[in-house]
């Protein structure tokens, strides 16, 4: 077992240390990524005051179609643009009211389509740090939430404007393939949901996402 692990590490080191040509030509790419999502505590505004929610993290994933400009426009810099389709999940852990905190449950799913711009920082290394910014549209859907078994939030969904910022590290494995390890903070305008009594409230969406992806450049 140990010898196999050592062999794999040696092989990975050889790949990363080779002086084989990096990707230097502009072109389209496809990226598939999986992510871990942690939803930030939210302050939810209803007709009779606001209640807060805490969450348990979940998993997500996405696919992006983009174009790598590389050095095509040196006046702007080295970068990429992409259209990203992603989904991220979490679940409610507790709801806080004026009298105190109640355990609660119910899933939240955020599905988004985002236009991202990414600034890559190339040098002669295979490691390519980047920062990114994106904006687009997200649909936020929630299950019925029943604190202590009493229905409170009705299953509902809303579409909102969203934006995200990120940073990460690309590891180029050759001319076409790169591994992407990144962080993204995703936020949106306040979605509107329904309570079981028919009234509505404004939620709050913010999530921290760590993603691991594989990018193939054509």
């Amino acid at each position: 077992m140990l010898s196999r692990l050592l062999s794999l590490l040696v092989l990975l080191g050889m790949i990363l240390s080779t002086s084989a040509a990096r990707a230097t030509t502009p072109g389209p790419y496809l990226e598939l990524a999986g992510s871990g999502t942690w939803l930030a505590d939210s302050e939810n505004q209803s007709d009779t005051g606001h209640f807060n929610a805490t969450y348990v993290g979940g998993l997500g994933g996405g696919v992006a179609l983009g174009y790598d400009f590389v050095d095509l426009h040196p006046a702007i810099g080295k970068g990429r643009v992409e259209l990203e389709f992603a989904s991220r999940r979490g679940s409610v852990d507790t709801l806080d009211f004026a009298e105190g905190r109640l355990p609660a449950s119910g899933d939240i799913k955020i599905t988004s389509v985002m236009f991202n711009t990414i600034a890559d920082y190339h040098d002669n290394s295979r490691l390519v740090p980047y920062v990114s910014f994106g904006f687009g549209y997200a649909e936020v859907a929630i299950d019925q939430i029943s604190p202590m078994g009493v229905p409170f939030v009705a299953a509902s969904k809303d579409g909102v404007f969203a934006c995200q910022v990120g940073a990460g590290l690309g590891v180029e494995l050759g001319n076409h393939l790169a591994v992407d390890l990144g962080y993204r903070y995703f936020g949106s305008e306040r979605p509107k949901f329904k309570l079981v009594d028919g009234s509505s409230f404004e939620g709050q969406v913010g999530s921290h996402n760590v993603l691991l992806g594989l990018r193939y450049k054509f």
Partner: protein
């Protein structure tokens, strides 16, 4: 212009931190948990015709999984007497639950909210009042600016006694020395105005009772702030009772509970309730608290709000025995991550596992008060609410109370 790596990194960090702001404490009540039943309590077991009585409606709320709590809903229910000639309720919203006894008889008092209904059988006697007294207060000497609640007690021809504080006519012989509240609610509250002597009289028909009040010429010399817990440190998310003690020109001292103005130097660290002097830890750090009465201000009292998180809770006593209809106060003590302990009775959520045996109050000033409803045992749970904890689930503990 090419953006440098450093500038974009700074922009990224700013955008991330902009999305990581704090959230305010919740303001919405747990109003979606259904009302299960209404319990009616009465100021007196029975009253004489021609007097008044105050009723209180306690709402018992409950969801599934044994989450139950009580709330005073006296002003939210509709009060009805089965015979208004015997007992009739005030229609003034400020006097919700106040009823006047007309003629002798027995009535069904009902309190209704939506489809939930509570009832109490109540008797109006035809006993006649034979004497009226004002029970002597612990001290009839007041310092200017302080208040004293007097009570009027009537004895009746059937041997019963009744609190008639709201039913008599109150008067002060010298309002420049001391005044007395004559309106309900709050009747019988004496306020010391200036040095001198005054007689406070309660009258009902041909009967009257008098209490002499002396307003001392002694002046307030200084005020000091102390903590009831003996410590000036509280954990974030908890509360602490501050006490204002006045020292007078004759070297005497007295705890002052009214006519005070509290001030906190940094409301981002702590806030204080003006009427009770209870301070709440909001954010980590130190702040100073002062209290003022008239033109006398206390020295600054430093309060420290710690970032200690709650590790566990304990309730005392652990084996309470309560008689049916009686109450007993439980206290909750938290042990925190810095190894300190702090009473957190006001700060936790109290839950009864069996409200048909015992209820536990969540009302302000009565948190943790258990009332025996019927013989049996009930589990009483205290759970962390807004007290920060590093544990994934709220911290809680339970004790069993026995009702006999």
């Amino acid at each position: 212009m090419k953006l440098t790596c450093t500038r974009l990194l700074v922009l990224f960090l700013l955008l991330v931190f902009a999305g990581c702001g704090g959230i305010d404490d919740p303001t919405r009540s747990i109003d979606f948990v259904p009302l299960r039943s209404i319990e009616i309590t009465s100021q007196n077991a029975q009253v004489a015709a021609g007097t008044a009585n105050r009723f209180t409606a306690i709402g018992h709320y409950g969801g599934s999984e044994n989450y139950q709590f009580t709330r005073n809903i006296t002003s939210q229910v509709t009060w009805v007497s089965s015979d208004p000639s015997v007992l009739s309720f005030s229609i003034d919203p400020a006097s919700a639950g106040l009823a006047t006894a007309g003629v002798a008889g027995t009535v069904q008092v009902a309190a209704t909210m939506a489809t939930i209904h509570g009832e109490l059988l109540f008797t109006v006697s035809d006993a006649a009042i034979t004497s009226l007294t004002i029970p002597a207060p612990a001290s009839a000497t007041l310092f200017a600016g302080l208040t004293l609640q007097l009570q009027a007690t009537g004895k009746f021809s059937d041997g019963s006694s009744q609190d008639l504080t709201d039913n008599v006519t109150w008067r002060s012989s010298d309002a420049t020395v001391a005044t007395v509240t004559t309106t309900v609610p709050g009747a019988g509250l004496v306020k010391a105005v200036a040095p001198g002597a005054a007689n406070i009289t309660a009258a009902s028909g041909n009967l009257s009772a008098t209490q002499a009040i002396t307003v001392s010429a002694v002046k307030l010399a200084s005020i000091a702030v102390t903590s009831s817990a003996g410590s000036s440190t509280l954990a974030k998310g908890t509360t602490m009772q501050l006490i204002a003690t006045g020292t007078y020109t004759d070297k005497s001292s007295n705890v002052i509970t009214s006519g005070l103005t509290w001030a906190v130097s940094d409301l981002a660290i702590a806030t204080i309730d003006q009427s009770s002097g209870i301070i709440s830890g909001v954010g980590a750090g130190s702040a100073t608290v002062t209290v003022k009465q008239g033109d006398i201000t206390s020295p600054a009292f430093q309060v420290t709000v710690s970032t200690a998180t709650l590790d566990k809770l304990a309730i005392a006593p652990t084996d309470a025995i309560i008689a049916v209809g009686k109450t007993k106060s439980l206290t909750a003590t938290g042990t925190f991550s810095d190894s300190t302990t702090q009473e957190v009775t006001r700060d936790v959520v109290w839950i009864s596992g069996n409200s048909t045996v015992a209820t536990v109050s969540q009302s302000t000033g009565e948190q943790g008060t258990v009332k025996g409803i019927a013989a049996g045992t009930a589990s009483i749970t205290a759970g962390s609410s807004n007290i920060p904890t590093t544990r994934k689930s709220p911290v809680s503990t339970s004790v069993t109370v026995t009702v006999q």
